[in-house]
Structures are given as structure tokens and as C-alpha cells.
Symmetry: C2
């Protein structure tokens, strides 16, 4: 997905500056989409150039001036077209799972630490974000509720899986070590 569509979508819900747009993206999309200034500012410039948004410079007392963009009729049409044409995709990128894939190369303590770190992160950071988002003042749109419910469901099932499988995996790793202590020591020595 082009960052332009995302910007257009956010602006369609209310005029805002690049800075404000980035904050919205962080608040609302953080769990499943990210966009940096390096994407946002060029996207806004391009959207304005092609007439899909209109930028207006706003002078602020006691604050840096800002440039607020509002969507045009052409922009609204282009957004509808883009949302109708975009093919949905969903991918994960998990250093965590790569690490776990190589669990046999980890000490049992390290494996436990990695799992515990991730469990805490999913539960105390990400699920807490979801809770806070749902308790916001403004009522959520149907789509926002769908997305947040998706996140909550996935996070819950992840946390449950990690809790369920943790001890069994650690036990397996300990047993594997016991089976091949000689080779382990040889490799450890070779590594020095």
C-alpha cells in the first residue's frame, strides 16, 4: 500500500498537518502499520501536487507554523477508488520466531527469557494499548472496532500459546542438552 492512500484516508476524517497525521498513524495503526516522516511528507507533497488534498499554511502564536491539509472532492473520489482496488495483504515479521526456530542453539535460560520478554510485551504493552484505545472518549467507527477486535483476538491467542508451551519447550531443551553434553562442550570450546 502506498503511503499516499493512508494519508488520504486519515485526512478524509479531518484536516490535519503532517505532524498531526503521524501522531494519528501512531495511535490508530501502530499495531499493524507504520509510516515515518520520510514517507509522510513526500506523500503529502505529491497529494497536493495532484490536487487530491489542499494545503493551507496556518500561523500559530507560540507554536511553529503548520501546514494543514484537507481533502478535496477529487481526493475523496481517488480514496474510494484506491480502497476499492487495493488488494488486501497481511504479513508478519518476527525476529522472535526466528530466534525460537533456532531454539536448539539457545541455552534453556535464554529461551525462557526470550519467551517471557515477549509474553510481557504482548500482554503489558500491546494488549494494554488495545484496552486504552477502546476506552477513548470518541466513539469508534465500525472499521476501527473491527481492527481493534482483530488485534485483541490475535494478542490473546498469542499470550495463551506462549504460556501453554513455555515450560514444555524449556524441558525439551534441557533434555536435549543432557543427551549431547559432550558435543555441546566440544562446540563451545571450538568457539573460543
Amino acid at each position: 500500500m502506498d503511503a499516499k492512500i493512508l494519508c488520504l484516508g486519515v485526512i478524509s476524517a479531518g484536516a490535519c498537518s503532517g505532524y498531526e497525521l503521524k501522531k494519528t498513524v501512531e495511535e490508530d495503526f501502530h499495531h499493524f502499520y507504520r509510516a515515518s516522516y520520510g514517507s509522510i511528507y513526500p506523500a503529502l507533497a505529491e497529494l497536493e501536487r495532484s490536487g487530491l488534498v489542499a494545503g493551507e499554511a496556518i500561523e500559530q502564536a507560540k507554536r511553529p507554523d503548520k501546514k494543514v491539509y484537507r481533502i478535496t472532492d477529487a481526493g475523496r473520489a481517488a480514496l474510494a477508488d484506491a480502497l476499492a482496488a487495493e488488494e488486501p495483504a497481511h504479513t508478519a515479521r518476527s525476529e522472535f520466531l526466528v530466534l525460537m526456530y533456532f531454539a536448539h542453539l539457545l541455552t534453556p535460560d535464554r529461551a525462557a527469557q526470550v519467551i517471557d520478554t515477549m509474553t510481557a510485551h504482548f500482554e503489558r504493552v500491546m494488549l494494554a494499548d488495545v484496552d486504552a484505545y477502546e476506552r477513548r472518549a470518541e466513539p469508534l467507527t465500525s472499521g476501527q472496532r473491527f481492527a481493534v477486535g482483530f488485534g485483541r483476538t490475535v494478542l490473546n491467542s498469542i499470550v495463551e500459546y506462549l504460556r501453554r508451551e513455555r515450560d514444555g519447550l524449556i524441558d525439551e531443551l534441557i533434555a536435549e542438552r543432557a543427551d549431547q553434553p559432550a558435543e555441546d562442550r566440544r562446540l563451545a570450546a571450538a568457539g573460543d
Copy 2:
């Protein structure tokens, strides 16, 4: 995570060429990590330069020559260090959820089509991959089992969520349309 660690990890399980390495990455990591040739070949060159792998040119009859890399003792040590130091992360990137976030800008038919496409993809493509992977000839390591179990759990909960919420969301979207048909038509007309 640096692509070098991934390459080193794969090579630690058996010497292979860049091409074979990419195939392994696709087969084993596809659901949670991807690496292109543009990452792999430079990573292999760098690993060889720093002595963590040793490359050997293999001439093949009826096939292009290839360069097979095997891990060195220094490489094994560096891999262990990297896996011990790497901080685990896990992120999603979902054009699908961005689309659903803007559900109120989609026709109910389009929303249904998007959900159905993704449901089919998660179930018939990704879960089928997981099934095939678990039924492979070679027994899985403990870490591979953990990673594949993680994937299966998440995919199952996603499919269940999509099935559970689909009709309710579509009904909501239809109701929203009924509430504001005049504005919809005005906007549609303005878009022409």
C-alpha cells in the same frame, strides 16, 4: 535482525549455496520472515569475508556451477553470540486491517469481498502451508515445532475471528448507508 544471522543459522544446519539458502528461507520462515537475493548474496559475501563461513565453488554437470558455504568454528561461535544478544521483536504489516479501518468508506459488498478473500488466504493458503510443513519427512526440531505451533494458533484465531465478525460488520455497514443515503449520493456525484 541482520540477514547475516539468518544466513548463518541456516548454514549451521547444513552447507548450502545462496540459491538453496533462499529456498530454505522461503520454506521455513515464509510466514514470519522474508529475505531477498538483494539481502542474501551481500550477507554471504560479508560472512565469508569475515571468516564466519567458508565458500567452495562446486562445478556441476548439466547445472550452473554453484558456491557452497559451510559454517566455520568462528561462525558457530558468532551465531551463538548473536542469538544470545538479539532482542526479540514481532510486528505485523497489514494492508488488510488498514482497509478494514476505513470500512465506512467501502461498499458492503467490497467489505465482504475483502474479508472473504483474506479468510480464504489464511485458511486455504497459510494454514495449508502449516499442515504441509508439519507433515514433512524430516522430523522437526523443538524450535521448528514451537514456531509452527505459534503460526497455527494465530491463524486459527484469525480465521475464527473473521468468520465470527463478518456478518455483523456487513450489517452495520448496510445500516450506516441507510442512515445517510443523501450524503453518500452527494459525495458519489462530487467524485465524478
